[in-house]
């Protein structure tokens, strides 16, 4: 790495650390509470999607409970990293876990929609490959920490988190595209089908706000991202509770 790139990496890390450090204590407490709320909501969704899988047993449906379980863990990891902010190495490790679990969550959700129109065999191969990749990449941050000589440091998570967010935006964008296409071709009343694309659009907006927060440090963008995520999860829960009444 040349000196210029190193300066960019270090300044990016310091910039993000200062963003969190400038946050008031009550603000941090609200952020931690919102992670807990998101975790509970995501776990409820995991339960419903697992129920759907157990009843229907279509292989592609496995992606939804697994995806939302990854998301639930990512909220916990972010909460823990905020709690142990005073220990930078511990906080960084949890942020790494947060980034990988969140992105794998969106990968599973995105591919559930992709494979909903594909055959069972293709879905099986995909699930095996992604499960293995996610297992390895989640173990990696802690593995590196344990095996790395003490004089070396893990690269700052803040240097790469924008790339992860962009990947999340692409995956969520695909889900929204798939749902809008489904909305047009299903021939059913739009009123019932509009909730899922709305929920995933709000999740997309939340990720975009986080990207903006990373660029300009706006606390409004950070707060909006958290609110958007909770609203999106509530919208998904609403779909479950409203279903069946229309049958």
């Amino acid at each position: 790495m040349d000196l210029g790139s190193l300066c960019i990496v270090i300044s990016s890390h310091l910039y993000h650390v200062s963003l969190l450090a400038s946050f008031p204590i009550w603000g941090m407490q609200v952020l931690i509470a919102s992670e807990f709320v998101s975790f509970v909501l995501a776990l409820i969704l995991v339960f419903f999607f697992l129920k759907a899988y157990r009843l229907v047993r279509s292989l592609f449906l496995v992606g939804l409970p697994v995806g939302f379980l990854f998301l639930a863990f990512s909220y916990v990891f972010l909460g823990i990293s905020l709690i142990c902010e005073s220990d930078p190495s511990m906080s960084q490790s949890f942020l790494w876990l947060r980034l990988t679990t969140q992105s794998y969550g969106y990968v599973f959700i995105g591919f559930t929609y992709y494979f909903s129109t594909k055959n069972e065999e293709a879905t099986r191969s995909f699930l095996v490959a992604v499960s293995l990749a996610s297992f390895l990449s989640i173990l990696l941050p802690f593995g590196i920490l344990l095996m790395m000589p003490p004089f070396m440091k893990v690269p700052s998570v803040y240097v790469v988190d924008d790339f992860f967010r962009m990947m999340n935006l692409i995956l969520l964008g695909y889900v929204v595209y798939h749902l809008v296409k489904h909305l047009k071709t299903s021939g059913e009343p739009i009123s019932g089908l509009v909730w899922a694309p709305s929920a995933f659009s709000v999740l997309w907006v939340g990720q975009y706000s986080l990207l903006l927060w990373g660029i300009d440090g706006s606390q409004t963008a950070l707060a909006f991202a958290h609110v958007a995520r909770i609203v999106a999860l509530l919208l998904l829960l609403r779909i479950y509770y409203a279903s069946g009444r229309r049958v």
Partner: protein, 92 residues
């Protein structure tokens, strides 16, 4: 038209739905007709009925198939989940 392969559970749902519909309308269950409507070969339909009886979703009184409360509950849950997945944009 190409027919999508159904899972075992989708077949159970189809069979239970057909039988419960016939129960409601008071029609006598004619197994060959139900098998035909469920789009199943007769031997597979018989195996399906045996399994549903084992699960307690059907009771096979002599000459009369009755969908039990557990079977009706399964149909209701399946319809709800189907509706949920359809509104999630996932067509089964």
């Amino acid at each position: 038209m190409k027919m999508e392969k159904r899972t075992k559970f989708q077949i159970y749902f189809d069979v239970l739905t057909l039988l419960s519909r016939e129960m409601k309308s008071g029609d006598l269950h004619v197994p060959t007709r139900v098998a035909h409507e469920a789009n199943l070969p007769y031997d597979r339909f018989q195996r399906c009925l045996d399994h549903l009886c084992e699960l307690g979703m059907l009771s096979n009184d002599p000459g009369k198939l009755v969908v039990t409360g557990k079977g009706l509950e399964y149909v209701r849950e399946y319809e709800k989940i189907n509706d949920f997945l359809r509104h999630m944009g996932l067509v089964l």
